[in-house]
C-alpha cells in the first residue's frame, strides 16, 4: 500500500512540475518586458524559416525566412496577432467606428462595392462576392501586413487547399511596420502577395533578399523540394537568394527596429491623394501639420504589445476599455479631459486652442476634424485616391486621377455620435437579388459577360472608366438575371438608387438602404490653425453658398440618372436645406443687427446711469438738508 502511494507521488510531482513549466512559458518572452532602459535594443538575430529552422545559406534550397518564427523567439506572437491590423475577421472584436473598406472594383461588370471582414454598416463580407480568403489576399493582400485571414486556417476555403500549400501562409510580416531599413520594400511585399508568393513575401520586402518566380504560376501539385513539372518548365518557381554580406560570422542579421517608426512606413497603406485641381503638383500641397512639426503617426496612434492601435476617435476609450486612449484624441491632447486627477493634456507640446469668439455649441456639434482636417471644402467635392483602394505604391498601379473606385471628399456628414465631420464617400454599384428587403450581391463574373455582350453589339459605345450603360441595358441585364433565378428580384444598385423591373416590365427606381453611399470619417491631413474653417469668419460655413452645407457631392457611379448627378451636402446632415439656408441668410444682416443691439445697449445704459445718478444726487441732497 505504502509503495503504491510512493509511486503515485513520484508520478504526480514531475507532472505538476512539467505543467508549471508550460504555464510559465506562456507568460512572457524576453523582448516583451522592458527593464526601463531607454536605449534602443539591437536586433541582431538569427533568421528562422516557417518550420522554425535557422536559415543556413549553404542549404539547398534555401528557405525564405519567416518573420513570425524569427520574431516570436523574443515576442509574444500569439498576443500580437490579435492586434487591430490582424483581427478584422475575428467576429468577437468590436468593429468600432466605420473605417475605410476594401473596395472591390470590376469595371466591366460596372461594380464597385465596399468589403470588410469587420461588420461595418454598409460593407459586405468578401465571401458575399465570391472572394475566399485566398482570393481576397491575392486581390487586396498587397496592402495588408499579413496575419489574420492570411494565416487563419479555419477561414480557408477547402477548394483553395492546394493553392495554400503552394503559396504558404501569409503570416504577420513584422517588418511591414517595424523595419526601418531604407531598403525595406513594402511595394515588393505587395507584388509578391499578388504573385501568391505568400511565404516569400516577408523576406522579399526585407531588402536583403531577392525573390524570383511566381507561386501563382505553379501547379497545385508543386512542392518546394521538387522540380518544376515539365508543363510549367517555362516558369520560374519561387526562390529566394540572400545577400550574404548582411550575415555576420554567427549567421545573424541586423534589423533596424526603432521604437517609433517614421510616418513613411505607415504611409504605404495609409496614404491618400487629393485630386485638387487648384493644386495639381505635389509641391503645391501641404503635409499634415503634425508631421510638419516633427511628429510621427505612432505618437498618437499608439499601441502596446497587444497591438491594439489607438485609432484616435472620440468614444474609443470607452469602447475598448482603455481609458488612456481618451488622451490621444484631438481633444485629449489639445484640451484635456476634465475628470482626471492629474493634467495630461499638452502632449508633445500640443497647443491649447483659444477658439476666440466661437460659440461653444460648435464644440458639441462638430468634430475637431470638421474645421481642421482634409482638403479645404470647395463648391463641389474632389476625388480622392487612397493606398488601399487604388493600390497606390504598387508598381503599375493606375496613376490616372480618375482611376476607379470613385471616392469623393470632403463630405460633411453627421456621425453616429451626432457630430458633423468630414468624410470620404463612395457610391456602391453592384448587381444583386432582392428577397423581402435584403439585397444579396451577384458575383461579378455572372454579370460581366452580359454587360460585355451588350457593349460588343454596339460598336459606337466607348468603354471609358465605366461601361456607358443606358436604361435599356440595365433592363436587359435584369431580364437575363431574372431567368437565372425566378424566386428573387434582380436589382442593380447605382448612384444611391436601386433599379428593378416593375410589374409592368418597366425599369423602376427606388431608394434602398443597400444603395446608400458608404462614408468613413477622414482625420488627415490636419491643416494649421490659419487654414481652418472659420478663420475668415462665420461665413466660411454660414453663407448661403458655403460648401459646408451647400457644397455638392458628386454621385460618381457607373449609371446615374441625369437628375441625380449631384447631391447637396445637407442630404448627409439630417438637416433640411431650407433651414440651413435660412440660418445662413441671417448672417447677411447680422452686422446690422449687431449694430442695433450695440446702440440700444448704449441707450439703455445711459438711461439707467442717468436715473441712477439723479437718484444718487437726490439722496445726497436730502442727507444734506436733513443735516441742516
Amino acid at each position: 500500500m505504502m509503495t503504491e502511494r510512493k509511486n503515485i507521488v513520484r508520478i504526480l510531482i514531475p507532472l505538476f512540475m512539467a505543467l508549471g513549466t508550460v504555464a510559465g512559458q506562456t507568460s512572457t518572452t524576453i523582448g516583451d518586458v522592458a527593464d526601463g532602459n531607454r536605449a534602443l535594443p539591437v536586433h541582431l538575430i538569427k533568421l528562422c524559416d516557417e518550420f522554425d529552422h535557422v536559415i543556413n545559406l549553404d542549404e539547398k534550397p534555401v528557405m525564405p525566412f519567416s518573420a513570425k518564427q524569427t520574431c516570436r523567439k523574443c515576442h509574444d506572437y500569439e498576443k500580437i496577432r490579435a492586434g487591430w491590423h490582424f483581427n478584422a475577421a475575428d467576429s468577437s472584436v468590436h468593429p468600432g467606428r466605420a473605417g475605410e473598406p476594401w473596395i472591390f472594383v470590376d469595371r466591366q461588370a460596372a461594380v464597385q462595392i465596399p468589403l470588410s471582414y469587420r461588420k461595418w454598416n454598409g460593407t459586405y463580407n468578401p465571401a458575399a462576392l465570391g472572394l475566399s480568403t485566398f482570393k481576397f489576399l491575392t486581390t487586396f493582400g498587397r496592402h495588408l501586413p499579413g496575419g489574420g485571414v492570411g494565416e487563419n486556417e479555419t477561414l480557408q476555403d477547402l477548394n483553395d487547399y492546394m493553392r495554400w500549400q503552394v503559396s504558404g501562409s501569409l503570416d504577420v510580416n513584422c517588418q511591414s511596420c517595424h523595419n526601418a531599413d531604407p531598403a525595406q520594400n513594402q511595394a515588393e511585399y505587395g507584388v509578391q502577395v499578388l504573385r501568391q508568393n505568400f511565404r516569400w513575401a516577408a523576406a522579399a520586402s526585407s531588402g536583403f533578399t531577392t525573390v524570383q518566380g511566381t507561386a501563382g504560376e505553379m501547379p497545385d501539385s508543386y512542392d518546394l523540394y521538387s522540380a518544376v513539372p515539365p508543363e510549367k518548365s517555362n516558369f520560374l518557381p519561387p526562390t529566394v537568394t540572400y545577400n550574404s554580406s548582411r550575415f555576420d560570422v554567427t549567421g545573424k542579421v541586423l534589423f533596424n527596429v526603432p521604437r517609433k517608426m517614421p510616418h513613411t512606413q505607415c504611409s504605404f497603406c495609409h496614404s491618400s491623394k487629393v485630386i485638387d485641381p487648384s493644386q495639381p503638383e505635389r509641391w503645391e500641397g501641404e503635409e499634415d501639420v503634425h508631421l510638419a512639426a516633427g511628429m510621427v503617426c505612432v505618437d498618437c496612434h499608439r499601441n502596446g504589445l497587444d497591438h491594439q492601435m489607438v485609432r484616435g476617435y472620440e468614444g474609443e476609450a470607452e469602447l475598448n476599455g482603455k481609458p488612456a486612449a481618451a488622451f490621444l484624441t484631438c481633444k485629449g491632447c489639445h484640451i484635456g479631459i476634465d475628470d482626471t486627477s492629474i493634467p495630461r493634456q499638452g502632449k508633445k507640446g500640443a497647443p491649447r486652442p483659444q477658439h476666440l469668439g466661437i460659440p461653444p455649441v460648435h464644440f458639441e456639434r462638430l468634430a475637431c476634424t470638421a474645421c481642421h482636417s482634409g482638403p479645404w471644402p470647395a463648391s463641389a467635392t474632389v476625388r480622392v485616391k487612397t493606398s488601399r483602394a487604388h493600390a497606390l505604391g504598387i508598381p503599375k498601379a493606375d496613376k490616372a486621377d480618375d482611376a476607379l473606385p470613385q471616392i469623393v471628399a470632403p463630405v460633411f456628414a453627421k456621425q453616429a455620435n451626432g457630430t458633423y465631420a468630414p468624410h470620404n464617400l463612395f457610391w456602391p454599384a453592384f448587381w444583386g437579388f432582392r428577397k423581402d428587403n435584403d439585397v444579396t450581391p451577384i458575383l461579378p463574373e455572372v454579370v460581366r459577360p452580359l454587360v460585355m455582350e451588350i457593349l460588343s453589339k454596339d460598336t459606337t459605345r466607348v468603354l471609358s472608366r465605366w461601361p456607358i450603360l443606358r436604361e435599356s441595358d440595365i433592363h436587359g441585364i435584369l431580364q437575363c438575371l431574372q431567368a437565372l433565378d425566378s424566386t428573387r428580384t434582380p436589382v442593380y444598385v447605382s448612384s444611391g438608387k436601386l433599379f428593378s423591373m416593375g410589374p409592368d416590365g418597366k425599369l423602376e427606381t427606388s431608394d434602398h438602404e443597400a444603395a446608400t453611399p458608404y462614408l468613413w470619417p477622414l482625420a488627415h491631413d490636419v491643416r494649421p490653425k490659419a487654414q481652418s474653417l472659420g478663420v475668415r469668419g462665420c461665413t466660411d460655413c454660414h453663407a448661403t453658398d458655403a460648401p459646408f452645407h451647400f457644397g455638392t457631392v458628386l454621385v460618381a457611379s457607373p449609371y446615374v440618372a441625369d437628375q441625380d448627378s449631384v447631391e447637396r451636402m445637407t442630404h448627409f446632415q439630417d438637416k433640411a436645406a431650407i433651414s440651413a439656408w435660412l440660418f445662413s441668410m441671417s448672417f447677411l444682416f447680422r452686422p446690422g443687427l449687431q449694430l442695433i443691439i450695440i446702440l440700444c445697449f448704449l441707450l439703455m445704459a445711459s438711461i439707467v446711469l442717468l436715473y441712477t445718478m439723479r437718484g444718487l444726487a437726490r439722496m445726497i441732497r436730502s442727507l444734506a438738508l436733513e443735516e441742516e
Binding site: G357, V361, L582, M585, I597, C600, M604, A605, I607
Partner: protein, 222 residues
C-alpha cells in the same frame, strides 16, 4: 445646462403658481379668472381699434401703448424661442428657432429702449415710493396701491438693468475676445440674465393687467 434647466423650470413653475394663487385669491373662482384673462387678452385689440382717438388725444399716449404691446409681443417670442428648446427638449437653441431668436432680439432691444425713453421719467422713484418702502419695513399701514406702484416701478427698472447684461453678453460673444471658457460664461450669463429678466417682466406684466386698473399714466401720476 442641466442646472440652468432645473433652475429655470422651477423658477417659472413657482412664479406661475404664485400668480395663479393671487388671481384665484382676487377673483374667487377659476371661471372668473379665465374671464378676466380673456378680457385682458382683448386689450391690445382695443388699443388698435381706438388708435385714431388715442392719436388725436395724444401721440405720446398712443406711442407708449403701442411700444409696450410690441415689447410684450417680441418678449414672448424671445422667451418662447429661447426657453422652449431648453426646457422641453433639453437642448441648445438651434435651427429655425435660433434664426427667429437672433432676428427678433434686435427688435426687442429697440422696443425696450423706446419703452425706457417713453416711461423712464414717469416711472422714476419718488419720495412717496421711499415712504411706502419705509412704511413696509417699519410695519406701518400702507395703501395697497402705493405698494403695487412701487413694485411696478421696481420691475420696470429691474428689466432695464437686466437688459444690460443680456445685451452685453451677446455683443461680447460675437467678437473674437473670449475663448471657449469665456464664451461659455457669457452664454451662461446671457441665460441667467434672460431668466431673471423674464421673471421680472412677467411680474411687471401681471401687475399691469391685474392691478393697474386705471390708465398707467394716471396710476403713476405725481
Amino acid at each position: 445646462m442641466t442646472l440652468f434647466r432645473t433652475i429655470s423650470g422651477l423658477a417659472l413653475l413657482l412664479l406661475f403658481a404664485a400668480l395663479a394663487y393671487d388671481l384665484k385669491r382676487q377673483w374667487k373662482n377659476w371661471n372668473a379668472v379665465r374671464e378676466f384673462l380673456v378680457s385682458q387678452m382683448r386689450l391690445p385689440l382695443l388699443v388698435w381699434q381706438k388708435r385714431q382717438a388715442l392719436l388725436a388725444e395724444n401721440i405720446l399716449l398712443f406711442a407708449r401703448r403701442i411700444v409696450f404691446l410690441l415689447t410684450v409681443l417680441v418678449f414672448l417670442l424671445l422667451a418662447i424661442t429661447g426657453f422652449v428648446p431648453l426646457l422641453v427638449l433639453g437642448d441648445h437653441l438651434t435651427g429655425i428657432l435660433l434664426v427667429i431668436h437672433v432676428t427678433v432680439a434686435p427688435l426687442f432691444a429697440l422696443s425696450l429702449s423706446a419703452l425706457a425713453l417713453l416711461w423712464a421719467h414717469r416711472l422714476r422713484f419718488l419720495r412717496s415710493d421711499g415712504e411706502a418702502v419705509r412704511g413696509l419695513i417699519n410695519n406701518r399701514y400702507q395703501e395697497k396701491e402705493n405698494i403695487i406702484r412701487f413694485a411696478w416701478k421696481t420691475c420696470f427698472w429691474l428689466v432695464s438693468v437686466l437688459s444690460l447684461p443680456l445685451m452685453l453678453t451677446v455683443i461680447l460673444g460675437l467678437y473674437p475676445l473670449f475663448g471657449t471658457e469665456g464664451e461659455e460664461v457669457l452664454i451662461r450669463l446671457h441665460g441667467y440674465s434672460a431668466l431673471f429678466l423674464m421673471l421680472v417682466a412677467i411680474v411687471h406684466l401681471y401687475l399691469t393687467i391685474a392691478y393697474v386698473k386705471q390708465s398707467p399714466e394716471q396710476f403713476v401720476k405725481e
